[in-house]
């Protein structure tokens, strides 16, 4: 089955994926600052952040109303809204869009929740194929160690409590993340992920990401890709 639509816009889409605690958000933040300094117009889009469906998601989570299917569909709705109203127009304008999690998150999580693999692949067929998709590969214990120490209490769906894996929320989270990790690993080749060893130092990982970006985008900004200075000049003109 064909996954995603080809990006026919001048802009570039960079995606980071990985389990919680893999360090992907830190890395995409560093990368976007670096791209900005190199003159790119950079924007961000985060998983599950559309204002349009926020209330519905909140209601469903609070009252624990979700089934695996409705959970999958509301996240796809959220994704569609961000894609139609934010990501695609920005790509058309020539921006670099950095996405913290993308459809791959659904492919991993929803399948673990018991949703049919090919159904969820088809569900996201309207998504734009990323220019670069980084996968932050990390052993489960390392990721859990980073998370379970210094953070707020785990939430019901985040810990996969709806799956009834364990009554203990931390244990449930552990099993759930382990299964998601397996799903990610099985996707690496199919999805053409650039694998980043997330056990390495933050600096080493960032260096590797920048190397791959230069390799893909070239040393100078490709034609049609919007730069920060261009935008300022256009506004003044």
């Amino acid at each position: 089955m064909q996954v995603f639509l080809q990006n026919r816009c001048p802009g570039r889409l960079i995606v980071v994926e990985g389990i919680d605690g893999s360090g992907k958000s830190t890395q995409i933040s560093l990368l976007s600052q670096w791209l900005r300094r190199r003159g790119y117009a950079v924007t961000f889009s985060e998983w599950n952040s559309s204002p349009l469906v926020r209330e519905t998601t909140r209601r469903g989570k609070k009252k624990e109303m979700f089934t695996p299917t409705s959970f999958s569909l509301i996240h796809a709705t959220d994704f569609a809204d961000r894609l139609e109203h934010y990501i695609v127009p920005l790509l058309k304008a020539g921006a670099v869009v950095c996405a913290d999690r993308y459809a791959y998150t659904a492919f991993a999580r929803d399948v673990v929740r018991g949703v049919d693999r090919s159904w969820v692949r088809n569900l996201y067929r309207f998504a734009i194929k990323p220019s670069l998709a980084f996968y932050f590969k990390v052993p489960l214990d390392v990721a859990l160690g980073r998370i379970l120490g210094g953070r707020d209490a785990l939430k019901y769906y985040e810990a996969g409590m709806d799956l009834g894996l364990s009554r203990n929320i931390e244990e449930s989270f552990r099993i759930f993340q382990g299964r998601i990790l397996e799903e990610y690993e099985s996707m690496i080749e199919e999805m053409g992920f650039h694998v980043i060893d997330a056990t390495k130092s933050i600096e080493t990982q960032q260096k590797e990401m920048r190397r791959i970006v230069v390799q893909e985008f070239g040393r100078t900004r490709p034609p049609g890709v919007l730069g920060t200075e261009v935008r300022v000049a256009e506004l003044q003109g």
């Binding site: 796809a76 894609l83 139609e84 109203h85 049919d116 088809n122």
Partner: protein, 257 residues
């Protein structure tokens, strides 16, 4: 129409829902479909008590009525900022919630489920907006195959008179104004509803719709719907009524003479 009496338990179109035992579903699922303003809700309101009279427990449900997404959809539509894919998926979320939390439990309990619109309206709206047919068919493929899909068919001119007489104004979404079809609401309504009817017509054969001519007077449409439902749902006369009729009819005949 095929006689569905005694058919095997309900099943899905393409994809099984996780955690559902389909063999447990003993009720009947009846779908009323058709374009906007064709008179579906009027008919559903009359069909429910009619079915109950025969001793059936009836659940009636319809689009954007889910506890999960109903409110969100209404708010999103009020803002007029819904993109076509987002709208399709929001309705699919609403449908999934109602299917798993209302329809399936009711069928498990042996209810007759009467639903005002089903996946076909979601699919028709997506296709009329140029979205990929295979994509939406597969996405909606977790739906149950109903015992009957009663497609209330009418021409655009019939819908227009219902909108003007019944509601007094054209609606933004019913007119497909997000598609920027025509100069005004009327032109847009005509073009959008025509394409919806076309899409419904195209689905009639592959999805086995039972076509009801909805341009007839309301009572005639009601009779046609009752007749179609009688082929699917057991319509034994309840004991009480039977007794009444046995005595009442001869009396009436005598009186008529």
């Amino acid at each position: 129409m095929r006689n569905y009496k005694g058919r095997p338990p309900l099943s899905y179109y393409r994809t099984a829902l996780p955690g559902v035992d389909y063999a447990e579903l003993q009720g009947k699922l009846i779908v009323i479909e058709g374009p906007d303003a064709v008179g579906r809700s009027t008919q559903v309101r009359r069909l429910k008590p009619w079915l109950e009279e025969f001793g059936h427990a009836v659940l009636d449900t319809g689009m954007a009525r889910s506890a999960l997404a109903g409110k969100g959809i209404k708010e999103a539509k009020a803002g007029n900022t819904l993109g076509p894919i987002t709208m399709t998926l929001y309705y699919a979320t609403d449908f999934a919630d109602r299917l798993e939390n209302e329809i399936i439990p009711a069928l498990r309990a042996g209810f007759v489920v009467l639903t005002d619109r089903y996946i076909f309206s979601i699919m028709a709206r997506a296709i009329a907006r140029g979205e990929n047919r295979t994509w939406i068919e597969r996405t909606a493929g977790f739906a149950l195959v109903p015992h009957a899909v009663l497609y209330m068919r009418a021409e655009v001119k019939d819908l227009i008179s219902r909108v003007v007489v019944g509601r007094g104004a054209f609606d933004y979404w019913e007119s497909g104004l997000d598609l920027h079809f025509g100069k005004d609401m009327y032109e847009s309504f005509v073009r959008y509803q025509s394409s919806l009817i076309q899409v419904f017509d195209d689905m009639a054969d592959p999805y086995g719709f039972h076509v009801i001519d909805a341009s007839q007077p309301v009572d005639r449409v009601f009779e046609s719907l009752k007749k179609a439902i009688s082929k699917v749902v057991e319509m034994d006369v309840p004991a009480k009524t039977r007794v009444k009729r046995k005595t009442a009819r001869p009396v009436a005949r005598v009186a008529a003479r």
